[in-house]
């Protein structure tokens, strides 16, 4: 046990899992809080409780499934690609897009919004945490444990953090790119092939340990693609939506 705790690899892994959780469980908490906002106060509490319980159950089930599946060949490869996609999404601001569900102030609609979001976002989170845990079950359970209070109590804190320190999101996305790279090179199919045909990919750094150029490539890819898409969206969306426009017109009339 003490040996386990004295191992820096464990602490690095734990740090990675916490950051991944802040960005990927945080947004889940944000969705739950936002969906519940349109409800009357009593129902808000219900929606938040049920939304959080559902998110946690989905997370536990998906984690168990994910751990088993990631042992299969090629699946880490798919997981890594998914993770890169998620990381890039983090850097692209939320925009109009399709908004299937209208907020009608109805408890059932709110719960449906929350459940759909829970499923999608738990999947994001589980892939992220599984990648950062690298098959270590203790880290995996800790990761699951950390995400639960974040979902239940996190929304206000996360909203503030995202607003004041957007750097956290960028850092989280970069970390996801890094662990995606790591996941890619440890896929059972690729691991030997990379070692034999591309040995130069491997770098040994004092203190840091063994890393691969593919991990660095993951970070560069995520940040580059995220920035590019965000700036392209900003250009396309020349129209500015003034959220205070309607009420002012009615006031001046």
């Amino acid at each position: 046990m003490i040996e386990y705790l004295a191992n820096p690899v464990f602490w690095v892994g734990l740090g990675q899992i916490i950051i991944v959780n802040i960005v990927l469980s945080g947004d889940n908490a944000v969705v739950i809080a936002l969906a519940a906002r349109s409800l009357p106060p009593q129902q808000q509490k219900q929606a938040i409780i049920w939304g959080s319980v559902a998110a946690i159950i989905m997370r536990v089930i998906l984690t168990i499934v994910a751990v088993e599946m990631l042992k299969l060949p090629y699946l880490k490869l798919i997981g890594a690609c998914l993770l890169l996609y998620i990381a890039i999404q983090l850097l692209v601001p939320e925009n109009d897009g399709e908004d299937g569900i209208k907020s009608s102030g109805n408890l059932m609609t709110a719960i449906r919004t929350i459940l759909i979001a829970d499923l999608v976002m738990s999947l994001d989170n589980v892939i992220g945490v599984a990648a950062a845990a690298k098959g270590d079950n203790v880290l995996l359970m800790l990761g699951l444990g950390v995400s639960i209070p974040l979902i239940i109590f996190g929304s206000t804190v996360i909203l503030k953090l995202m607003d004041r320190y957007p750097v956290i999101i960028t850092g989280g996305a970069a970390l996801l790119g890094w662990v995606a790279g790591e996941m890619l090179i440890t896929d059972p199919v690729l691991v030997d092939w990379i070692a034999s045909s591309m040995p130069w990919m491997h770098i040994h750094l004092p203190l840091v340990g063994d890393i691969s150029w593919i991990q660095i490539l993951g970070v560069v890819l995520v940040i580059g693609a995220g920035r590019y898409i965000a700036s392209r969206d900003a250009e396309v969306e020349v129209k500015m939506v003034d959220l205070a426009e309607a009420e002012q017109q009615s006031k001046s009339n």
Partner: protein
């Protein structure tokens, strides 16, 4: 009419910019057309399916951030228009200046996100780079 924009995030610096403009309003020969603008930071793209609710959230937060500035202007019976826009602060302010043909920007040097500003350069720096109109920075 001289079109003046004051970006406001509710921080002390941004409110000092509002106070300065109120104080110096009489110095301008032309009457002022005052715009106060709050820019809300967008949610990351992984926040999905709640677009309407997030707009409502940004609107409410924007109203909160603007409240004090509006009180100051109301107290002097100054006419103004207020705006809330979601986006990256510096770019959105610059875009607003072009869009509304603003002739003068009055803003705080440093907003609420002090640490982020130290790392990535303040919103004021970005606005200075991006707009062609005079910018009055208030400490």
């Amino acid at each position: 009419m001289l079109k003046v924009l004051i970006p406001v995030d509710g921080s002390g610096n941004s409110l000092r910019a509002v106070r300065l403009l109120i104080e110096k309003a009489a110095l301008y020969k032309e009457p002022l057309e005052i715009h106060v603008l709050n820019v809300q930071h967008p949610f990351p793209g992984t926040v999905r399916g709640v677009h309407q609710q997030s707009e409502q959230y940004h609107h409410d937060e924007g109203i909160k951030a603007l409240a004090e500035a509006r009180q100051l202007l109301d107290a002097q019976a100054l006419k103004y228009a207020y705006h809330i826009v979601v986006g990256e602060a510096g770019e959105t302010i610059a875009h607003f200046v072009k869009d509304k043909q603003i002739q003068q920007v009055v803003m705080g040097t440093r907003g609420a996100g002090a640490v982020a500003n130290m790392l990535i350069g303040s919103v004021a720096t970005k606005v200075l780079h991006l707009v062609d109109v005079p910018v009055l920075l208030v400490k």
